[in-house]
């Protein structure tokens, strides 16, 4: 919960969090080491110095640390757990639905548990998706089109197998398809700078929502075209948001382009925890205004209403969260006890 100086309550849903194990004990090979090292470089490069973690903590943090960083020190009210399997790099996977489910189990009102699928897993993968749906009642999946599977270095959403999986997701009521389309890593030339497959599937699957994580950066130009044309394409701010600290001028450009092309109702906040933590991200975001010269070019203004939508209301709509009811649940569970006002809040 973020409270403004005027006392307005802003309900925050963190669209992108992880509960990973990147520790040396779980690393299967040099790729596993390089993967967590690369994440750590993102973390060290874009975090304010005071928010920088020790490497060991970054490799593997415990459940309590995560809970506190998100909900006690941080302003998140709820967080979506997005899995990243990477079973070719990590013995038990990096951040599987099963691992994440422990967080969900301990704090059911706080977490939204997402699953994942990989169309290269064939019938077995489809069965797994059904099992995830049955066991965890998932409403969303996180897809990582650049993930390796043996010889394959990635896939496209337009592949025939992807269509089968998306059809299955639609039938199972898994409406929210989060797709990593971010900075250029891993794949060869396949999919390396292309968000075009989103365009195709967004048209074909009108009932599904496609949340493009990292808003296609560094393919923002291509992404904006697609997102403008498709009503069911959203922008996830993970990775883009931390630039608010190191490069506020560029963040201003990115957010103003997104507001201009995609609009305030289709942008979702995400911390990408544990790469970054909600406290400083949201403090900076709430204090942020788009500079006049940028507003003059795009006409975009980051109003309080828009900030409220980005921080929580847009995700609440996608995941069917009744904000007032959810606040009551969290308050009843003592989730706001750390807020000074909670003492006087009705129970």
């Amino acid at each position: 919960m973020y409270k403004t100086a005027k006392g307005e309550e802003i309900f925050v849903i963190d669209g992108h969090t992880h509960f990973w194990d990147g520790s040396p004990a779980n690393q299967k090979n040099v790729h596993g080491k390089q993967f967590i090292d690369c994440f750590y470089a993102y973390h060290s490069n874009l975090s304010p110095p005071s928010e920088k973690w020790e490497k060991e903590k970054f490799e593997k943090y415990d459940a309590k640390t995560m809970y506190d960083d998100l909900f006690v020190t941080g302003y998140d009210d709820m967080a979506i757990l997005q899995p990243t399997y990477l079973t070719d790099f990590y013995k038990n996977g990096f951040n599987t639905t099963e691992r994440n489910s422990a967080m969900k189990k301990s704090h059911p009102d706080r977490f939204i548990l997402n699953g994942a699928f990989d169309p290269r897993d064939g019938t077995k993968g489809l069965e797994h998706l059904h099992a995830l749906s049955e066991k965890y009642k998932i409403k969303g999946v996180k897809l990582y089109t650049a993930e390796w599977r043996g010889e394959s270095k990635g896939y496209k959403l337009t592949d025939k197998a992807s269509y089968q999986y998306l059809e299955a997701a639609q039938k199972l009521g898994i409406k929210n398809i989060h797709v990593h389309k971010g900075p250029t890593i891993i794949p060869l030339n396949r999919d390396a700078f292309d968000v075009a497959d989103i365009d195709d599937v967004a048209t074909s699957f009108q009932d599904l929502n496609f949340i493009v994580e990292h808003c296609g950066l560094p393919r923002l130009d291509d992404f904006c075209w697609i997102a403008t044309q498709e009503t069911n394409v959203y922008a996830g701010l993970a990775v883009a948001l931390p630039f608010i600290h190191t490069r506020p001028g560029y963040f201003a450009h990115v957010i103003s382009e997104l507001l201009f092309w995609v609009g305030p109702d289709k942008i979702l906040y995400g911390s990408d925890y544990g790469i970054w933590t909600p406290k400083w991200l949201i403090d900076k975001f709430m204090a942020f205004e788009i500079p006049d010269d940028v507003t003059k070019e795009t006409g975009s203004v980051l109003t309080m209403e828009t900030k409220t939508k980005i921080l929580g209301l847009n995700a609440a709509r996608l995941y069917g969260i009744d904000v007032e009811a959810q606040k009551k649940k969290i308050r009843a569970g003592g989730g706001y006890a750390h807020l000074p006002e909670a003492v006087h809040a009705p129970r």
Partner: protein, 236 residues
């Protein structure tokens, strides 16, 4: 140049060694911001470095080596044998680098164009004048030093989209079509996204490189490695 960022690989701190031996053979080593940087981009950069250096008439041989990358061995072996990207990666690669190179050249053209257009409008030139300038006229246009630099950068990439006769229009779009004075503002704002993208990316790449190799910590010279014969000037 880094094809995606349109910046010099030397300025980006990617190049860690550039030596010439007494026989005029050139040795280049470079590294990238992440272990994962796309293999095709990496290969493209190495290949471009090799071509650019080979084009110098005094050069008798070029060796380009990529370090600390997941595909370093494969790429270096391919480079050493003079193979193409496709030949190096075989079935794992599913396209050729020429298309990719062209995509990046067009994006670089667009970025350089929008930088120049913004500068010219800032100096008070009107859209209808700008869109009707020929290449010869652009060359004579009175501009300040920054404008001069931007014109030169723009002209380097202008051949990407169309022929360069003195009477050709200076400003055309990526398809080589002339710009209209009417849609000028919308066109420029469209290009701005390409530029924002690349700037953002450049910031990310520099930052990741500096975090990965700890470029921020003041450099403390390491004692020379025993047995290092050439004493090559390595930055670390």
């Amino acid at each position: 140049m880094d094809p995606e960022l349109d910046e010099s690989v030397v300025d980006l701190n990617f190049v860690i060694r550039a030596d010439v031996d007494p026989l005029n053979r050139v040795y280049i080593e470079f590294r990238l911001p992440t272990y994962w940087c796309a293999a095709n981009f990496s290969f493209l950069m190495a290949d471009d470095m090799r071509s650019a250096v080979s084009a110098l008439d005094w050069v008798e041989g070029v060796s380009v080596v990529l370090g600390e990358h997941m595909y370093a061995d494969k790429i270096n072996a391919g480079l050493e044998k003079g193979l193409s990207f496709q030949e190096t990666f075989g079935t794992e690669a599913d396209g050729n680098l020429d298309d990719l190179r062209q995509t990046f050249l067009v994006k670089a053209f667009q970025r350089r164009q929008v930088a120049l257009l913004n500068h010219l409008t800032g100096l008070g030139h009107q859209p209808d004048t700008i869109v009707s300038l020929t290449l010869a006229e652009l060359g004579c246009l009175p501009v300040d030093d920054e404008g001069d630099r931007l014109v030169r950068r723009y002209l380097e990439r202008r051949p990407v989209v169309g022929p360069m006769r003195p009477t050709s229009l200076a400003f055309v779009d990526a398809a080589g079509v002339r710009l209209g004075a009417d849609g000028f503002a919308a066109y420029v704002s469209g290009l701005r996204r390409v530029a924002v993208n690349a700037e953002f990316n450049g910031a990310l790449c520099r930052g990741l490189l500096s975090a990965r190799f700890d470029l921020e910590t003041p450099f403390v010279p390491k004692p020379p490695k025993r047995g290092a014969a050439d004493g090559a000037p390595h930055k670390s």
